[in-house]
Symmetry: C3
Subunit: 129 residues, 3 copies
């Protein structure tokens, strides 16, 4: 299992971690297999989305925050229930195939770390099998 850290700068933020995940794949020496990415946090997630136009991820950030507002009468006193819900909807793990030592992603796909209760220092786990 490999891991790396990411530092988020805002409460809600999507960070492209494709380069870091690809580095973990290379480091594993696996030529053909499956790469699993796992986020060990309950107010963060990992997803795959477009990496060409940055307005795609900013549209997602702002729409999700409208759909699941921070103050929606939640009981959990830490004020981050919205982040927990987003985390479960987007998901803590993602699976990408590996061929010829490289992640097999579509033309426009990047792997994103989703921060839903930052800014914080966060961890990402990667395992290639």
């Amino acid at each position: 299992m490999r891991q790396f850290e990411v530092e988020t700068g805002r409460r809600v933020q999507m960070l492209d971690i494709t380069v870091e995940v690809q580095a973990a794949v290379k480091d594993s020496g696996v030529v053909s297999g499956v790469c699993h990415v796992f986020v060990p946090h309950t107010t963060a997630a990992v997803t795959i989305n477009e990496n060409a136009d940055p307005s795609v991820v900013s549209d997602m950030d702002s729409f999700l925050s409208k759909l699941i507002p921070q103050d929606a009468g939640f009981r959990h006193v830490e004020g981050n229930s919205d982040g927990h819900i987003k985390s479960s909807l987007v998901g803590a793990s993602e699976t990408v195939f590996v061929e010829n030592g490289h992640l097999v992603l579509g033309t426009w796909q990047g792997i994103y770390f989703c921060e839903f209760d930052g800014p914080r220092q966060r961890k990402v786990y990667v395992k290639v099998v």
Copy 2:
């Protein structure tokens, strides 16, 4: 493949199944690998979220039920279309790493079975590779 049963007591409920999944990991004898959890139902799901404060999962239950109400003019006559939609959004499978024979979860993370059309007797499948 291992499996165990869970019995839900309400229409919508999140049950912590971390102990059962960890038992399946131990039973598999795998020391280092990947644990896949799969829910063979279309109105249930599996997710990873906070296991410390129970208000986190109750906030999620009640918010999702507000976001996706049971009676939103659906055509499916069984009255559980809300459960099918929640099932696809939260997801039928989850992947967690295994090291030293144990699930590698973050400090606050637990694995939850999500019931969206209970109460029922349900199954959970686990495979460790």
Copy 3:
């Protein structure tokens, strides 16, 4: 890694691809293992849901389109931000177990390709390990 193509006929559509995925499993020769399905597109997804009553998937289509409308003041100029958001919520990958050379699905479960910005020619990747 195996792959096949699907052709979608509407902007938003869920296509049952269980037969195609099962064919890829058979083709792989794997008797007991794990089947990963991956969609290399950022306005599409893969999910598992009911295959008995077609109104279940049409309910999901129309509800998701109400929840995440195409014109919600997005900045991304291609007019498909709704599709990108749905893609991240439903997810680009799905994991199903394989036993005796067959996908282990619940009685009512089918694997669906989710089109969120069609009609288009799309690809699905399958890997069985």
